[in-house]
Symmetry: C2
Subunit: 363 residues, 2 copies
């Protein structure tokens, strides 16, 4: 595969542009020539990185200016102190001196577009997020980053499940899972734990102080970052034997996961995958209770593809990476979700997350 830089400039060529400005952290991390850009731009506070055929110029926000100056010794850094002109003015001043014709931004708001129009006559600035499209097809570095994020995510899920027993709180489980992942190298960790006797409230109705009772269902999701790469998985289980209805719910969700994930091959239709999950739940009368996406893209953030009710039809491609996370939330019964990180290779789906679908509990 050509290098990231080669792919960027090939895409610029196709739209007749000679420079790219990355304003979004995932694009900045992807394109910056540094062994671990996630420790330089460790938060989304770098205003612009300008890539031309000859130069890379970094325009950090004030809060990141010291880090960029010290940690990027080989590139040009337009440092920033209190009282300096606004970022857009700094960018325009630099662009004025450069013989550029057309420049693509991943995001270009009306204020910055107006400013550039006024200040840099002859330069055409357009919004065209070619970098996010390039990021869709994963390279070796991506795959290494995603595998590491998946490994850390497995450690967290296993640690949280191991702590499940009646009498502990949701927060106790999150503490075990978060600590395991932070120790293993995650720079950012959110672990969501939901438990309850009946309906779970997907991404809502979470009470960290709630004490877990025997017979309840437990539901753990997370969002982590490791060297900038997203780690993400969800598991559901029953505290004890559970009722036949609870076991059936878990089994059904696991079946939906297997059905959808096994279909994640090159050329697969994303709407067909979505519909297969709906059809499976419809057999139980639960179609209306599957209320979210099947997949979001994985990588550095905001990557395509997305599989959801409101997403356009798309074909999966070799090199895609995406979540597979059918869930269902049945009033009066309960909710469950299974989520893994999937890499679409030429030969089919590979599960990057390796944690068992029902991780062992610690009692």
């Amino acid at each position: 595969m050509p290098s990231r830089r080669e792919r960027l400039f090939a895409a610029l060529d196709r739209i007749g542009a000679d420079a790219f400005v990355a304003t979004q952290r995932p694009n900045q991390l992807y394109l910056l020539d540094h062994p671990d850009p996630s420790i330089v731009i460790s938060r989304p506070n770098c205003n612009f990185i300008l890539f031309t055929a000859k130069e890379t110029i970094v325009f950090p926000g004030i809060w990141i200016s010291n880090a960029c100056r010290d940690l990027l010794p080989n590139g040009e850094v337009v440092t920033n102190q209190p009282g300096d002109p606004p970022a857009g003015v700094q960018l325009a001043a630099r662009l004025k001196k450069m013989p550029l014709k057309k420049i693509a931004f991943d995001r270009l708001g009306p204020d910055l577009a107006d400013l550039l129009n006024r200040e840099t006559s002859g330069l055409q600035a357009v919004q065209d997020d070619i970098a996010t499209e390039i990021r869709r097809t994963k390279d070796e570095r991506d795959l290494k980053g995603m595998r590491e994020a998946a490994r850390v995510s497995d450690l967290g899920m296993l640690a949280a499940f191991r702590a499940i027993r009646p009498g502990v709180t949701n927060g106790d489980l999150a503490a075990e899972g978060a600590a395991a992942m932070l120790r293993a190298g995650a720079e950012h960790v959110i672990m969501h734990v939901m438990t309850g006797p009946g309906t779970f409230y997907l991404d809502s109705g979470e009470d960290a102080r709630r004490t877990i009772q025997a017979g309840e269902m437990v539901f753990i999701d997370m969002g982590i970052a490791v060297h900038g790469y997203i780690g993400d998985q969800t598991r559901a289980g029953i505290v004890g034997e559970g009722t036949p209805q609870q076991r059936d719910l878990l089994r059904t969700v696991q079946n939906a996961y297997r059905l959808a994930s096994q279909a994640m091959k090159p050329e697969a239709s994303t709407t067909a995958i979505y519909q297969s999950v709906i059809d499976l739940y419809a057999q139980k009368g639960w179609a209306a209770y599957f209320c979210h996406h099947v997949s979001h893209g994985l990588g550095l953030g905001g990557d395509p593809p997305r599989i959801a009710r409101d997403a356009p039809d798309d074909r999966l491609r070799a090199g895609d990476a995406l979540s597979c996370e059918p869930g269902v939330y049945v009033p009066g019964l309960g909710g469950a979700r299974v989520e893994n990180m999937i890499y679409v290779s030429e030969s089919g789906p590979e599960e990057l997350t390796k944690c068992p679908l029902e991780p062992p509990m610690g009692f």
Copy 2:
């Protein structure tokens, strides 16, 4: 102090409005009549809550619809399933049936304003975030919530500092701190650990995998939520004795903190407080290296007041709660910050966070 509801309707009276729509989670948590709204609306995914003299009507997003239906049995909840009309359309349909004249929104975008204009003739909709202004002056419930968030924050900072010794990683400290706070009841925890031999990179240049060496400075910030209330503090220290320059840096920042926090009394000028910090650092030639705010408001989120270079002058009031966090980041030497949560009582500033300015390290 009058009740939250009484204060809301008094403010509506002043602008001639008869209803309020809260779209922002902090306002929703503040105004919803529930013993712990943070476990119902546990993420910012509730579209609208409409408050009129007679009714409270909740319009949850799809993801929170089950939770609102089950956990808010006494209010009206307009539940949401896949395929239902967009939130704005649901709101307009409900408003049409109500005899309202003027309605204030905390946020009202142009699309929703246009929709309401078309669909609800005779109803005037305006953006006026009266709720955030009401939230500025803390009531007993706020004070209880902030004290608990501060207590949990102290536990986390003490746990992280106790784990500091050469050979552990930044992530190890974050793991100890995060786990302590999650076990103590925080529903959301981010702990930022920065270490280095020289300049620190405030909110950037963070490497979770970095191993701490003797003689380095360490710098820990956090952002947590407990029952929706923000907990926040920062501490800086030296791993070992440190150099005279490092000790001077720490002492200077602690002096800046004491100077600013002791000035946080009713009627104090916010620009005077900001300037006093600049003047203190200027004595060292460091004025340009204090690059951020002195204070942001505390409470449920987005509360005034703010003390910063770009914030307008304001007078502190009894009942304000705000951070006090002067820091300085000196090229070639290092960076440090001290931050506490301050409550401005009639008799002066009260530190809600109680952790020592230099917490004991565990070696």
